[in-house]
């Protein structure tokens, strides 16, 4: 909230190019079209050949509370956000109150002049801590407790302010179209985007195309919004021509797509052969299942036939995991998606899948916990839980994706792991990844499908012809037994959550127990032997770096960007991203980290990965950089925290706190 520039930023600001290098924020009341406006803005930039990375922040609320979208736009790929904003487009007074302090000197603020007289005290949804802080600040400076005073403060700190009288613009549209203003009011979000793009001088044609794309199939809405966008664009162009130094310039378009983490995972599942997805509604996982349901019928390569995925909404998460497990038993690639609270409900089903060697995939979108926690906010607090959930011991594979592109490939790969090792796979992602939008390229032809030891009736007949008998849990040197789909002709088998023999019948025999435990757990050794190292850990930077960051999941982008910044300053810091958390490739991790100062960067309170690495390798973590305020890490705060470690001024544990 501080309006003074952060340490290290001033210098940066001076050299920063103002073309195609913008952090943009758009905010308003939830339900007033903030998401749509951000989509349109991002799409317009994408259509102009620019790269985008953006995050969505919202309350656990349907209408009325404050929400916003923060985007970075660049001519090069982007993967993280900085905390400071170059241009803030607000529809309402609360957006000004919450975010005006995040604007950089020389940045811009678009606001509706009717908010000027609004009293800060009277904004009902404004967080009371923020309210108190603002009122105190204004009182100390002898200013009126109104939004107007905040805007005056902006001006004083070098922010350019642009009053956009949405009502007047709507009036103009109303006169031209004959529609009444109240009918048109819902397009204020598009007016804000159009005003922003006019300031940034991006050709209106991109916005028009974006509107067509976002409102696809709704011709009337498209026409109305394009008309509105034109009026707002012209309005701003006429009044504030060339007054804003930041610009967006189009460049030749690559083969980029703009998508969220939720969508990337859904697509990864489709490509990876998932044909049954169960879910119980929960933030931030449900969008994935809804996207799958909206695309449930799809084409097949090399044929006219279509295929489909069953998306099954269950009565609770227990039914979600157990029905997916049933589908996997029947032979479909099956998955379920949830968040921490739902995963808590699923736990008994995890053990059953592990015990019965069922290839089922759980996509776990972490959010702020414990309990209901911060339902719509970000955290990586469930690593230890994912590793240990369930009573007793059973093999599981736990993987984590660092960004949207990785999430696509990992979502597909998870099924290969599940079927090859015939066990549960937990794919860890998080709110920041789920609700971020990014321009990326995805190449489905890089995905391979390997179904492991799945046999059909011919193979069963061979076993019988050779005088054998089909045994679902047959003891083998690898621990993997041939698996049949339920209903395969020529055999039957049993499965049981009780300890069982090779046929699947209950057995409490002590020798059988040891052999079965060994058989199941041995599969984890096989994972270690077989899975390529780059699917388990990734190392970025020089091997001899004195300082090495360890992290996992969606902190990747902010870390890599912070390291790039440090590198420019001549400081080499390495980064070890752990992608497979179980089985943890401890030997490789130890090899990479030995002799370095290890800095653990994580979005949780206790540094769960750091603790795990120490537990498994004996390597001590020199510094912890953690964050658990529900907002993802910004590049600049990671940079500063790392820099202070390198300079020797950092405490053992630093807690990052930026974000509104």
């Amino acid at each position: 909230m501080s309006a003074t520039a952060c340490w290290g930023m001033v210098e940066q600001q001076a050299v920063k190019s103002l073309v195609n290098n913008l952090t943009y924020m758009i905010g308003g009341q939830q339900g007033s079209g903030v998401d749509t406006s951000a989509n349109i803005f991002a799409k317009a930039c994408g259509l102009a050949g620019l790269h985008i990375y953006g995050k969505r922040e919202y309350h656990s609320n349907i209408k009325g509370m404050h929400s916003y979208f923060q985007l970075k736009i660049s001519d090069k790929p982007v993967r993280s956000l900085k905390s400071r904003v170059d241009l803030l487009a607000s529809f309402d007074e609360e957006t000004v109150a919450v975010h005006y302090g995040e604007l950089v000197e020389g940045g811009g603020l678009l606001y509706d002049p009717k908010v000027l007289d609004r009293k800060i005290e009277a904004i009902p949804t404004l967080d009371k801590v923020v309210k108190r802080r603002l009122l105190k600040r204004l009182e100390e400076r002898g200013l009126n407790p109104t939004i107007g005073s905040l805007i005056e403060e902006c001006k004083a700190s070098g922010v350019r302010t642009y009053p956009i009288p949405y009502d007047d613009i709507l009036g103009e549209i109303s006169r031209a179209s004959g529609k009444n203003i109240s009918e048109l009011a819902r397009m204020i979000n598009v007016l804000a985007v159009a005003s922003s793009l006019a300031l940034l001088e991006l050709d209106l044609a991109f916005l028009e195309q974006a509107i067509k794309s976002v409102f696809r199939g709704k011709a009337k809405v498209v026409d109305e919004n394009i008309e509105g966008a034109r009026v707002a664009y012209e309005y701003v162009k006429k009044r504030f021509s060339s007054s804003y130094p930041y610009k967006l310039k189009s460049q030749p378009r690559g083969k980029l797509i703009l998508l969220t983490g939720n969508e990337a995972i859904a697509l990864g599942k489709l490509v990876g052969g998932c044909r049954f997805q169960s879910y119980y509604p929960i933030t931030p996982a449900a969008d994935e299942s809804v996207f799958l349901e909206a695309h449930a019928v799809f084409r097949l390569n090399g044929g006219d036939e279509s295929a489909s995925i069953v998306v099954f909404q269950t009565e609770d998460e227990l039914a979600a995991l157990t029905s997916a497990t049933g589908a996997a038993l029947a032979g479909a690639r099956a998955a379920t998606s949830t968040s921490g609270p739902g995963f808590s409900v699923m736990v008994e089903g995890l053990g059953w899948a592990g015990m019965n060697e069922v290839p089922v995939v759980v996509t776990l979108y972490q959010r702020g916990g414990p309990s209901t926690g911060l339902p719509t906010r970000h955290e990586q607090g469930d690593l230890r839980f994912a590793l240990h959930a369930g009573h007793g011991e059973f093999p599981r594979i736990v993987i984590a994706s660092g960004d949207i592109e990785e999430a696509f490939y990992d979502a597909a790969r998870a099924f290969n792991y599940a079927e090859r090792y015939q066990t549960l796979v937990i794919h860890l992602v998080d709110k920041a990844l789920a609700n971020s939008s990014q321009t990326v390229t995805l190449d489905p032809s890089l995905v391979k499908i390997e179904r492991g030891d799945l046999i059909g009736e011919e193979k069963v007949a061979e076993i019988k012809a050779a005088g054998g008998e089909y045994k679902r849990f047959e003891f083998t040197p690898t621990g993997i037994s041939p698996r049949v789909r339920l209903g395969t002709k020529g055999c039957v088998y049993w499965a049981s959550g009780d300890e069982h023999d090779e046929f699947g019948h209950i057995s409490e025999n002590p020798e059988n127990r040891v052999m079965m435990m060994d058989k199941r757990m041995r599969k984890l050794e096989l994972v270690e032997e077989e899975v390529p190292l780059d699917e388990r850990v990734r190392y970025y930077g020089r091997e001899d770096a004195k300082y090495k960051v360890v992290s996992w999941g969606s902190t990747k982008g902010a870390i890599l960007d912070a390291l790039d910044e440090l590198r420019v300053e001549g400081v080499e810091v390495g980064f070890l991203q752990v992608k497979m958390l179980c089985p943890l490739p401890s030997k490789h991790i130890a090899k990479i980290l030995e002799g370095s100062k290890v800095i653990d960067v994580e979005m949780n309170y206790s540094g769960q990965l750091g603790g795990l690495i120490t537990e498994k390798t004996g390597i001590e973590i020199s510094n912890y950089i953690v964050k658990y305020n529900g907002r993802p890490m910004f590049q600049d705060e990671v940079y500063q925290a790392l820099r202070s470690v390198v300079e020797g001024t950092a405490p053992k544990r630093r807690v990052l706190t930026l974000g509104a």
Binding site: V271, L300, N301, I309, G326, A328, A332, A495
Partner: protein, 323 residues
């Protein structure tokens, strides 16, 4: 070649207590499967936890012994992945009407084409006789330190209100009748629920075989026991909702089911209470939505090319997301 009961017998030791009603349910199920000319590899039996949970192990068919209260969601997942499977789920009354009751209710409103058999003996046998959700208020079976403090669930009425399209009650010692019910249930197009009254000789000393057959109430003239259970078909009851019925006729049928569901004590109806095949099954609904679901269900789909690349072509979706 027609199969016999013995073809559905798995030769392992059966550890139910001597005299357990489960034996009747098991052999009736095996002979029903044989009589319906099913093959062992066509059939998948899901069970939960408790004495009933062991049933699949005694049947030569695919047998999936799941978690306490959860056989239905496992069974539904398998059935939806491959609707060609003949799926049967079995529960106990604690399993299916206690810990797993929400799955039962939601199975009703989905109408997935499978059979659900609840072994109803009023007690949690495997944990030594605690009261189950179907034990009536004030009843003190022998393992209870005090009479039961809860009212009982009415499984028939519950099934009706959940939208179950086949609702029946059988009695484990009337095996001929029970077999007819099982066969009807398996043939029913939709979700079929059978509540089976099943004395627990070890822990339920109230709802015993003697209780159901009325040995405590002899006919004053003949001196013969007057059984409490009676067959609905013997009193001319017709459970079927037909497509040409008016709304009023259907409502009258439903009212009758409710009335019968509360009959208990001296007269306990068994037989089919309700059958309505005019409701679309979940599989049919999916087929309407997904176009070729029934002919190309999840478990049967080609998911990769012969070279191991994805079979799904997402080009159109990527175009939708392109910038």
């Amino acid at each position: 070649m027609a199969l016999k009961l013995v073809d559905f017998k798995e030769q392992i030791h059966n550890d139910w207590c001597p005299g357990c009603g489960n034996f009747g349910i098991l052999s009736v199920l095996q002979s029903a499967l044989a009589e319906l000319e099913l093959e062992p590899d066509d059939v998948v039996i899901f069970s939960g936890i408790g004495c009933s949970g062991k049933l699949p192990h005694f049947v030569k068919a695919y047998g999936i012994h799941t978690l306490h209260g959860r056989p239905l969601p496992y069974a539904i997942g398998a059935k939806l992945a491959n609707p060609n499977l003949e799926v049967i789920a079995v529960s106990g009354d604690g399993d299916g009407l206690g810990i797993g009751v929400s799955h039962f209710i939601h199975a009703g409103r989905r109408n997935v084409d499978l059979t659900y058999i609840v072994h109803d003996n009023g007690v949690y046998g495997l944990t030594k006789g605690q009261a189950s959700p179907t034990l009536r208020y004030g009843v003190k079976t022998k393992a209870l330190p005090e009479p039961n403090i809860n009212e009982a669930i009415n499984p028939i009425f519950l099934a009706l209100s959940a939208g179950v399209t086949f609702i029946a009650r059988g009695y484990a010692y009337d095996t001929r009748h029970l077999k007819e019910i099982f066969m009807k249930a398996i043939k029913h197009r939709g979700f079929a629920f059978v509540d089976v009254l099943q004395p627990c000789p070890t822990y339920n000393d109230v709802n015993t075989k003697a209780f159901y057959s009325g040995e405590d109430r002899l006919d004053p003239v003949t001196k013969k026991p007057r059984p409490r259970v009676y067959r609905l078909e013997d009193v001319g009851y017709d459970p079927v909702v037909r497509a040409d019925m008016t709304k009023e006729q259907v409502m009258a049928k439903i009212s009758k089911v409710i009335e019968l569901s509360f009959e208990w004590g001296d007269r306990i109806p068994i037989g089919v209470f309700y059958q309505n095949e005019n409701i679309l099954t979940f599989e049919q609904r999916l087929d309407l939505r997904l176009r070729n679901y029934l002919s190309n269900p999840p478990a049967k789909q080609r998911i990769s090319t012969p070279e191991g690349f994805p079979a799904a072509d997402i080009t159109e979706i990527l175009q939708e997301l392109a910038v």
